[in-house]
């Protein structure tokens, strides 16, 4: 069995003005081939105007086991949202 080519993650900007969004992954021998494969695999119907590819091994991800430690502290800070504050109806433009 052959060694697999490098795994790349693919991000597509669907139209200018929008951010690149993760769409999937693919294998390629090098970066240019990854861009070309991403074009064929993920933009057959004008889904994009720009492509990023990143070797999957270069992505550093948070650990789901640490999700509580990372995200729990934000849960009880409702005062960070505008709807926490009651403003009388008579007050306009706020």
């Amino acid at each position: 069995m052959n060694e697999d080519w490098v795994l790349y993650e693919v991000f597509i900007r669907s139209r200018s003005g929008l951010e690149h969004k993760h769409v999937g992954s693919l294998h390629a021998a090098d970066a240019r081939m990854a861009i070309e494969h991403a074009r064929d695999a993920y933009t057959r119907r004008q889904e994009g105007v720009s492509i990023w590819v990143v070797p999957s091994s270069e992505i550093i991800a948070s650990d789901p086991g640490e999700a509580d430690a990372l995200f729990e502290p934000a849960r009880d800070k409702v005062y960070r949202h505008p709807t926490f504050y009651v403003i009388p109806d008579e007050v306009k433009n706020i």
Binding site: N2, G24, R32, D40, P55, P64
Partner: protein, 337 residues
């Protein structure tokens, strides 16, 4: 670890109850309709079930290119040829999305390809039937892709995130496949007497194999119950088959074609079509490799793999010479910031 566990049964019991708790927490997540993502903890059986199902699905897309690719050079017009090429290219794309989804579960792409080429992996029984006439291309789009859509739409809500996302993408594209097939059938059905007969002949040959695509009946389906509990599957094989028949029979009537099932009739009480017995021994034989085209399909895949070897090797050598995953697009460096 193993010998340690033998030495201290107390620790073993602790581990077992911990494992049970983990399983319960996992099932609770599924029951709450939460999605499972690649790095989340999951039972090994869930992982293996998904790898098997997604890989079989991917293989089916890849082998599925062969019966239709067979007609690209003989398409009767430039329009039909362009459509067929686009469709076959989509099938290849679908295979790629699915292999990628399977890889998030920790299996290597090369291993999956190896399983297909060695004949150890299964793929959909339908692709082991031959495409004898041009009308078969219409029947495949209408019936085979129609059945696939029936199967795949509920998979968009599958509990495993990467599989569900791949299915959303696939389902969006699949609708064109079915419509172009029906349009092709409609053209033939409204054409000359010979063309009408050709359409009828294609329906005769593809109807029953299409019904078999939904898999064995619920009573004989080994995986259904567990897969439903894990929300990998949302409907049983028989439910989906019935749904397919109910929507497809009126479409056949509109074409002026006859569904090749003398037992087929509308049942007013159940509001469903009743249909005749499926030839399950044929289904089992095709799955086991005894269908009309099993050998031919695998030989074609192996030849494609072998004939492409020098291209893969050349690309790898070129990449190595230019230092691995080199930044071919220098201007893009730093673009992420």
């Amino acid at each position: 670890m193993y010998t340690q566990a033998l030495d201290s049964p107390a620790a073993g019991a602790d581990e077992a109850s911990e494992e049970r708790e983990r399983l319960e927490r996992f099932q609770a997540r599924i029951d709450r309709d939460e999605k499972i993502e690649p790095k989340d903890w999951m039972p090994e059986a869930y992982r293996q079930t998904l790898i098997r199902q997604i890989a079989q699905h991917a293989h089916s897309e890849i082998v599925g290119m062969l019966p239709e690719g067979n007609w690209i050079t003989r398409a009767p017009s430039l329009r039909r040829k362009a459509v067929l090429i686009a469709k076959v290219q989509d099938e290849g794309g679908h295979g790629m999305y699915l292999y990628s989804a399977a890889e998030t579960l920790g299996v290597a792409r090369g291993e999956l390809i190896e399983q297909l080429l060695s004949g150890r992996a299964k793929y959909s029984s339908i692709f082991n039937y031959p495409t004898l006439t041009w009308a078969d291309i219409g029947a495949i789009g209408w019936l085979v892709d129609g059945a696939a859509i029936m199967n795949q739409v509920p998979l968009c809500r599958c509990s495993y995130g990467p599989y569900a996302r791949a299915m959303v993408r696939i389902c969006k594209e699949e609708s064109f496949h079915q419509r172009q097939g029906y349009e092709l059938m409609l053209t033939l059905a409204r054409g000359s007497e010979d063309q009408h007969a050709m359409a009828q002949d294609a329906l005769n040959r593809w109807w029953w194999p299409s019904l078999m695509m939904f898999g064995p009946s619920d009573a004989h389906s080994v995986h259904t119950a567990q897969s439903m509990r894990w929300k990998i599957k949302r409907f049983t094989n028989d439910e989906l088959r019935q749904k397919f028949i109910d929507v497809t029979v009126p479409q056949a009537e509109y074409l002026g074609l006859t569904v090749p099932d003398p037992d087929l009739h509308w049942n007013e009480a159940s509001q469903h079509y009743r249909f005749g017995e499926i030839n399950w021994s044929e289904f089992q034989a095709v799955l086991k490799g005894e269908g009309p085209c099993n050998r031919e399909r695998l030989e074609a895949r192996r030849a494609a793999h072998e004939n492409g070897r020098w291209v893969r090797e050349a690309a790898a050598a070129y990449a190595a010479k230019h230092q691995g995953p080199a930044r071919a697009m220098k201007a893009g460096a730093g673009a992420l910031s």
